[in-house]
């Protein structure tokens, strides 16, 4: 009889901490890779993993119900023997290979996956605990917002990042008066070129949203409930509701307390492995080594969480698969679909195809020393597909071609990819 190779995970337990995008994919990929042991997913949001992106989009607009957010139904997890344990992990004992949960119970693990994600940064200002002051990260957060919407006429949003702007669009569409207060000189400053920021500021003001940049919020004012937002320069804005979206922090304290290396998230190698050979990390909480750019990067996006989860699952099954996927992201506001590919940090030139100053469709291509590094495409799906293709092949080419709308994207695709 021939010897059958042992299956990965035989008689072992893999525990996943967190139950969101990264965790859902990691559990699924473990089974696809043939992991035959137990899989336990521990999450502190009460239920199974759900899609977070619609929270500020279709779900906030009331176009989607909570049921439709679920990533996979419970029958899927049952069928593939993926156990979900509601609860919060409070400690990891790496020597004993046990976890302690908030209710005092313990869980043994042979392999551990950290998919703890991020949490919102809170505004530590006066009035922050008044009723009507909201954050937007979880289903429970948005259910809280939606419950109050029928009595809400005016909302002040703190922070002009993607989540703040998507929230502004979703509320404006429902006829609510919206003011966005942004500390920086322009919205989306951290993530896009000035042309793209200006475009979004224009689209929002055309929709009737007031955007105030270079504005510092000093306090929230009201009796029981928030009534006004006070700014450092003395201005104030009336509000029935405030939604704060000023960024997130990685949930890395658990790993840190267990002695794992932390630096803007949980430090992992290109295979999503921590310094502990039995522990991987994936998703928003992981700061991953990128051999291509020879630096670490921590991304906050669903595609990144999914790709890292696949890599981490392979690592746990004893297979080291390098990750080659391209970072990308999307954002929906009004009828504008923004699709971004690549990372634009360090760009020295922006080429615009179409026009950002009028209309509602253009693409911005970012270059560094003549090399395409990223693209932001607004209602330009073909350009997005082109960018994904070009970014994968790392080469320099004639920039003027990209800006020339007389050349159809299909032709650019044929010419620019053929010369590779």
């Amino acid at each position: 009889m021939s010897h059958s190779p042992s299956q990965p995970g035989e008689n072992q337990v893999c525990v996943i901490i967190g139950a969101s995008h990264a965790a859902a994919q990691l559990a699924t990929s473990l089974r696809q890779q043939g992991w035959s042991g137990s899989i336990r997913m521990i999450g502190d949001e009460g239920g199974l993993p759900y899609q977070r992106p619609p929270l500020s989009k279709a779900f906030l607009c009331g176009e989607k119900g909570a049921d439709s957010l679920i990533i996979r139904p419970s029958a899927f997890y049952e069928k593939h023997q993926i156990e979900f344990i509601p609860g919060r992990v409070t400690a990891i004992d790496r020597a004993a290979k046990t976890l302690t949960l908030a209710d005092g119970s313990e869980q043994h693990y042979d392999k551990l996956a950290l998919c703890t994600g991020t949490r919102v940064i809170r505004l530590p200002i006066k009035g922050a605990s008044l009723a009507g002051v909201h954050y937007l990260r979880t289903l429970a957060d948005v259910e809280g917002i939606r419950r109050e919407l029928p009595d809400t006429r005016r909302v002040v949003i703190i922070g002009g990042g993607y989540i703040g702007l998507e929230t502004a669009a979703s509320l404006r569409k429902q006829g609510i008066d919206v003011v966005v207060l942004e500390m920086a000189e322009r919205v989306l400053q951290r993530v896009t070129a000035p042309q793209v920021s200006a475009f979004y500021q224009r689209m929002h003001s055309e929709a009737g949203v007031i955007i105030e940049t270079s504005t510092m919020v000093a306090a929230f004012d009201g009796e029981q409930r928030v009534e006004r937002v006070l700014c450092a320069d003395g201005r104030s804005y009336a509000a029935d509701m405030v939604i704060v979206g000023i960024g997130v922090r990685p949930n890395s304290e658990l790993a840190e307390a267990a002695g794992l290396e932390i630096d803007n998230g949980i430090v992992v190698d290109e295979y999503c492995q921590t310094q502990d050979p039995d522990i991987v990390a994936a998703g928003d909480c992981a700061n991953q080594w990128d051999p291509g750019s020879a630096q670490r990067r921590r991304l906050e996006s669903v595609p990144n969480a999914v790709e890292q989860a696949k890599t981490a699952a392979a690592t746990l099954c004893g297979e080291k698969i390098p990750q080659i996927s391209l970072p990308w992201f999307w954002s929906d506001q009004y009828d504008l679909k923004l699709q971004m590919a690549g990372l634009n940090q360090g760009y020295d030139q922006v080429v615009i195809r179409g026009t950002a100053d009028s209309g509602s469709s253009f693409a911005a291509f970012y270059f560094q020393q003549g090399q395409l590094i990223a693209a932001d495409c607004v209602n330009r799906a073909p350009e997005f597909m082109l960018a994904k293709k070009l970014l994968g092949q790392k080469q320099t080419f004639d920039l003027t071609q990209l800006a020339d709308e007389a050349i159809p994207v299909k032709q650019l695709m044929a010419e620019l990819t053929a010369s590779a």
């Binding site: 992106p53 996979r72 139904p73 999914v306 679909k337 799906a381 073909p382 299909k410």
Partner: protein
């Protein structure tokens, strides 16, 4: 209960049972059909849920919106009956549906 068939590029067939109120992409995901990445979770933003519908079924898969059309036009393995699986709402009318998967998703 109706059934649908996904055929991978190498010919491997996957039969799945129709469940109400779910997109074709979600059917693939819930049945672990490989070859449909669905990076965006069905938001018509990634183009990685490309399927090629059997000719006779194409008309029954519903209308294609502008964004889907534009993405499909740029897909290297695109065909006249290409669709994004997340944009196909599955009903009992699709009992017997056959779709083919491309070799690569974009």
């Amino acid at each position: 209960m109706g059934r649908m068939t996904f055929i991978e590029h190498d010919g491997t067939r996957h039969e799945v049972e129709i469940e109400a109120d779910k997109s074709l992409m979600q059917h693939a995901a819930d049945n672990m059909v490989p070859g449909i990445d669905a990076d965006c979770g069905g938001e018509c933003a990634c183009g990685t849920c490309h399927v090629i519908v059997d000719h006779q079924w194409f008309a029954k898969t519903g209308a294609i919106n502008g964004n889907e059309k534009q993405m499909l036009e740029m897909t290297p393995e695109g065909a006249p009956t290409s669709r994004l699986a997340c944009q196909i709402e599955v009903t009992d009318a699709l009992d017997g549906l056959v779709v083919h998967l491309p070799e690569f998703q974009m």
